[in-house]
Structure formats: C-alpha cells, structure tokens
C-alpha cells in the first residue's frame, strides 16, 4: 500500500472516529438528546449522505453538478401531483418526485440532442419551469382547507424530523439496490464517465449507461429531498465528491471517501438541527458539508491551498539557494578556484530578492561564509556546487545518449541526483562516457 493510499484510509478512519466522538460531545455541550426519534433521523440522514456522496462523485466528474441542481428542483411538481392523487404518503410522494425529476432530465437531454441550445441554458430553463410549476402547485394545495397537507413545504428546505423508522427502512432498501447496481456496473460507469467515445467504439451502450447513471442520481436526489429540500439538495450531492477529490487520485477511494463525508455531513447536520425545532435540516447539513469542502480545499495534501503555499515557499527557498550557489561557484571558479572570494557587491548586482534569500539559506546550510566584503564557499559548499555541476552533466549525457546506451526512459528530474532516479550500473555507464569526453 502506497503512502497516498494509507493517508486516504487513515482519513476515512479519522472521520469515523470524529463522527463517533461527536455524539457524547454534542450531548454535553449542545444538550442534544439522542432519543429514539433523533436516532432514527440521524441514521436516515447518514444513509442519505452516503448515497448522495457516492453518486455525487459521478455527477462531479461528469461535470453534471448543474444537472443535479436542475434535477432536484424538477422534483417539486411531482411532489404536488402525487399529494393530490395519493395524499401524504411518503412512498407516493417520492415516486412522484422521481418521475417529475426524471422527465426533467429527459427534457434536458432531448433539448441538447435536437436543438442548438447549450447545456447550461437547457438546465436553467428546465429548472425554472419545473420549480415554478411545483411552487404554484404547492401554493394551490395549501389553499385547500385540509390539515394533512401541512408540511409539504418541508420539501423545499428539507426537514429531517419528519423521517420515521419506516422511512429509514425504505431509504436503506433503495440505497442497497443502488449500491448493487453501482458495484455491478462499476467498470462501465467508470469508462463511460472517463471516455464515452472510446466506450462507444468498444460496443458499450453509452446512452444506456448514461441514462442509468442519471436515473440513479435522480433516485439519490429524490430520497434526499426530505432531508435537504429541492433547493439545497445539489449541495449534499456534490459537496462530498468535491471534498473527496482533493484527497485522492483514485476513483474507488474517491467514492468511498465521498460516502464517508456524505454520512458525516448528513448525520451531524441532522443532529445539529435538532437543537431547535425551527432549524431546518437542509441548510444545517449543507453548512457542515461546505465546512468539509473548505477544509479539504485548504488542507488536502497535494491539491490543498495550504499544501501548495507551503510547497511554493519551500521551492522558493530551495531554488534560490541552488541558483545562488551556482552563481557563486561560477564566479569563483572563473576567478581562480572554487574557494576564491566572491565580492558581495557582485552578488548584489545580480539583484532580486531571491539572491538574499539564497545567500541566507546557503549561510544557514554552512555552504558559504562571509569574509569582509566578500562571500567564500566553504569546503562543503564547494563540494555541493561541484556535485551539482557534475549531476547536470550526467543529465545532459542521459538526454543526449541515453537511448544509445540502452538506459531506461525516466522522467528527467534534473533537480534530483541522477543516482536517485537511475540504477547504479546506468549511472556508471554515464560516468564512463563523461570521463571519455573530458579526457
């Protein structure tokens, strides 16, 4: 297992621990009481977070985040129609939402394939039209004097408190089916997402898998509607995927990590919204999810901003030192020898902040000493500079004659010692060649 892999698994474990620790802490500090109702809600929300996280990865990678937004808004009229037909029955409401949302996707897809309307425009107009119809329907329903319609508008912002045990069972069952489909078609989904043209040329039914994936995303959205609501659902869908992408370079790890992030955001967001009955769940969950995104973008190794910043300042120091050492060595050797003093005025003449940074760095490393108005390379400094020159020569030879010498193709990382990249016999070949050239 590579370092990167270990880091991802550690992170997954850390999230699990953090989630577990949150429960006692929130009991003490936030006075959240985990009674039967809240336990049900948190469990349901976590599962919804998982399924959103998993499918959100594909939405993000397919650049269909906006599609997710259009889909969730498009679910609203279905909720209204289903209520008019079947009353406040969760299964019926979700099926209505699903059909409405799915019709939305198909409308977008057909706009794209038959007209010259661009994707963002097609999504924008569908989102607005379906959502408007949904709002109008809900307003109409609420005008009807009947107590049972109260709470339909929780579909707009989400209200996890409405989740009961039978709902959790339904969510868990549907999620299981979705997971099985993803596992069975894993390689197809991966290929169709990465390179649909190649998939098509290999006989994969790209349209079928695209539609299947969109359908699964619709299912995730519809299930999550109660929790996050139609307006914010897209956040729960894509935030875990965006965060997960920062930490890993592998699709399977990304999906698993995203599931963890989703579960964390869903569960903790739902628990936090239990502080007060007036706090809607959706916004709470999205805030937690966005925190995860922020932390990931800032601190993820390799991609995170903090990492990049650190890397850059490290690089600046390192390369300033390296280039300054070269300047010193070049001047000294052309004026008599490696330890010949180099006037400070000459170095100042090169100018730029990097010279000062480089000189300071070299002095700290013990490569140079101040001698009155001049800089002098120490024995170790002279040796390091000579080693660098030698290393560059070997790299030059590698580039020019590597093929003739039968050396393996490696990335030319000239700032590294060639011995770290090539094997000993390979370097020996280059050394022999260098000796032959210089003698």
């Amino acid at each position: 297992m590579s370092v990167d892999d270990r880091r991802v698994w550690l992170l997954i474990a850390a999230i699990a621990v953090l989630g577990a620790v949150f429960i006692p802490i929130s009991q003490i500090w936030l006075d959240i009481e985990y009674d039967y109702t809240l336990r049900t809600v948190v469990l349901g929300s976590s599962i919804l977070g998982i399924i959103s996280g998993v499918l959100g990865c594909f939405a993000v990678l397919r650049r269909e985040s906006l599609m997710g937004d259009a889909l969730s808004h498009a679910a609203l009229p279905g909720v209204g129609i289903a209520f008019l037909l079947a009353g406040r029955e969760l299964g019926a409401l979700l099926i209505g939402a699903g059909i409405s949302s799915w019709l939305g996707v198909m409308f977008i897809r057909s706009l794209l394939s038959t007209t010259r309307i661009k994707q963002d425009t097609a999504m924008g107009i569908t989102l607005a039209a379906w959502f408007a119809a949904g709002i109008a329907l809900l307003a109409y329903i609420q005008a009807v004097p009947d107590a049972s319609q109260a709470g339909l508008d929780t579909f707009i912002f989400g209200q996890a408190a409405a989740i009961v045990e039978s709902d959790v069972r339904l969510i868990a069952a549907v999620s299981t089916v979705v997971f099985i489909v993803i596992i069975v078609f894993w390689k197809e989904f991966k290929l169709v997402t990465f390179d649909p043209e190649f998939a098509g040329a290999n006989g994969f039914r790209v349209t079928f898998f695209n539609t299947l994936l969109s359908t699964l995303i619709v299912i995730a959205i519809v299930l999550g509607l109660q929790l996050a609501g139609v307006i914010l659902m897209v956040g729960l869908l894509i935030a875990p995927g965006i965060a997960a992408r920062q930490w890993t370079q592998k699709l399977d790890q990304m999906v698993i990590l995203s599931a963890m992030f989703g579960a964390f955001a869903g569960g903790i967001g739902a628990a936090l919204s239990a502080i007060d009955a007036d706090v809607p769940t959706g916004p709470m969950i999205i805030v937690v999810a966005f925190l995860i995104v922020t932390i990931s973008i800032l601190f993820a190794p390799g991609r995170g901003l903090a990492w990049t910043f650190l890397q850059q300042s490290q690089d600046r120091r390192r390369f300033a030192a390296l280039t300054t050492l070269r300047d010193l060595y070049k001047y000294a050797t052309s004026h008599g020898g490696a330890t010949h003093p180099v006037p400070a005025s000459f170095m100042a003449g090169i100018g730029g902040a990097s010279v000062d940074v480089g000189l300071a760095q070299l002095q700290r490393q013990g490569y140079i000493e101040r001698d009155g108005a001049a800089w002098v390379l120490t024995a170790t400094g002279a040796e390091a500079a000579a080693r660098d020159v030698h290393n560059q020569r070997l790299w030059d030879l590698y580039r020019a004659y590597g093929d003739e010498l039968g050396l393996p193709t490696v990335n030319e990382d000239r700032q590294r010692a060639i011995g770290d990249v090539l094997t000993v016999p390979a370097v020996t070949k280059l050394e022999t060649l260098l000796k032959g050239q210089t003698s």
Partner: protein
C-alpha cells in the same frame, strides 16, 4: 464499389465503406464516401480542416448517426466485428484530471472483452503493462494521468488501443502536438502493427511526412478525392483537388514521383 461485395475470389477488405453520408443540419459533413482499404496497410486520412476526417471515423465506428451508407470490417457489420476494431480518440476528448492512473486507463482497453460483471484481474494487468512497455511508458504505470505531458498522454492512449489486440485501428490525430521523440515512437508502433498484419487508419495533418510514414492514403474533403497507394495517389494534382490551388506545399516542388519509404 458495392459490386466488390459480390466478388468471391479472396477474403474481404479490412474496411469497405459504401455511400457513407453524415449530415449536420441538412448539410453533409461527409458525402457519399466509398472506400476500400485492403488488409495490412498503413493509411493516412488527410484533408483540410472541416473536411470531415474525424466525422468519417466516428461514423464508421457507429459513434454518430449516419444519414446513409454502410461500413463493413472484414466483411462484417460493426456489431459483429467489434472485437476486431481498435480506436484511439483525440487526446483532448477526455478530462485528464480524472482520478485514475496510467495503468488503469490502459486496462480500459480490455473492458470490452471482459464482458458484464467481470473485473480486470492479474492477467489484464499483465497485458496492460506489456502494452505500456511497447510505448516506453512502463515506468509511468502507476502515475496519476494529470501528471502526464501531451506526448505521454498520446502514448497512453496508444497503449490502450494496443492492448485491445484489434485487427484494424482507427487513430484520430495521434501526431497532434507531440514532440519529435513521441512522433518517432508512434511511427515505430504503427510500423510494428503493419508488420503484424494489422490495418491502421490515421487522421493526419502533416503533409510532409505522409510519404515517409504511410503506404496508403485517402484524400478527403467531404467527399473522397482519391484513395490508394501513396505513391500513385499523393500527387500534387490530387492535393490541389483536395486543398485548393493556393497551398504552400505546391510551390516548393510538388510531392510527385518521389519514392516511398
């Protein structure tokens, strides 16, 4: 050309295209393409921008709807001949920031053969590594694809096609924006494929190298202008018919009566 279908003398050509037409908004992108590509040739498809070169490949491979026409691979329709066909799309057609490794991308070339439910295992891994070795990319197997240079991306795509072990390959501008080393590496692979009896069709832009690299050429500008052995087909007259008269290469000695490679 459909008459050739009736001939019973020898085995069918690697690719036989008949009446192939693709239209966008009732304007043909390619028009009435008839083409007969014999087995074992290295064929360049050349023509100006917008001549329908990529469209031709995509239409032949059933990736876009045809308005008319058929394409037969070794005498079979695409559905039956799928395992005989390898494809190298344009490098820019995918997201190179996708979370996956070089080895993984090459393994994708084997997904079609794996069939439903089966996952790539050790055998597929070996095949993919071997293909990477053929394009001198073995050291990059575990590298994240976002770290590749353009030439390395192209070689990764090439390895993915090689691993398919197809009979006929379609390559969409494999030489686009690659350095001399990569170009040389790709040419070597193409020649090796020809030696193994494979047929390769390459969308190509550099007219200077057509004679060096390819023994067969099709000049395309919406219609097929000419198609056949490079020496007989790649003439200044045909180039003029394809590109129009004001083309620089016609001034500095027309590429006529030159020996092939």
């Amino acid at each position: 050309m459909s008459k050739q279908l009736d001939s019973t003398d020898k085995k069918p050509p690697a690719l036989l295209v008949d009446d192939l037409t693709v239209a966008y908004n009732s304007k043909p992108a390619i028009w009435d393409i008839d083409l007969n590509v014999p087995e074992g040739v290295l064929m360049a498809i050349v023509g100006p921008n917008g001549a329908g070169k990529s469209t031709f490949i995509k239409a032949v491979l059933n990736l876009i709807p045809r308005a008319a026409g058929t394409a037969l691979f070794y005498g079979q329709a695409y559905e039956q001949a799928r395992s005989l066909v390898g494809y190298v799309p344009q490098r820019g057609s995918v997201d190179w920031d996708f979370p996956t490794s070089v080895l993984d991308v090459v393994t994708m070339g084997l997904y079609g053969k794996l069939g439903w439910f089966r996952r790539p295992g050790r055998q597929e891994r070996e095949l993919a590594l071997h293909a990477l070795d053929q394009v001198s990319m073995a050291d990059f197997a575990n590298r994240q694809i976002s770290q590749l240079s353009g030439g390395q991306q192209q070689r990764t795509f090439l390895a993915r096609a090689l691993v398919q072990d197809a009979q006929i390959y379609f390559m969409d501008e494999p030489f686009a924006a690659v350095d001399a080393v990569t170009e040389r590496a790709i040419v070597n692979i193409l020649r090796e494929l020809r030696e193994r009896g494979k047929t390769v069709l390459v969308v190509h832009h550099d007219l200077q190298t057509v004679k060096d690299y390819f023994d067969w050429v099709t000049l395309l500008n919406v219609e097929v202008i000419a198609s056949g052995p490079t020496e007989a087909t790649f003439t200044s007259e045909n180039l003029r018919k394809t590109y129009g008269g004001r083309v620089a290469f016609l001034d500095g000695g027309a590429p006529v009566n030159m020996a092939g490679d």
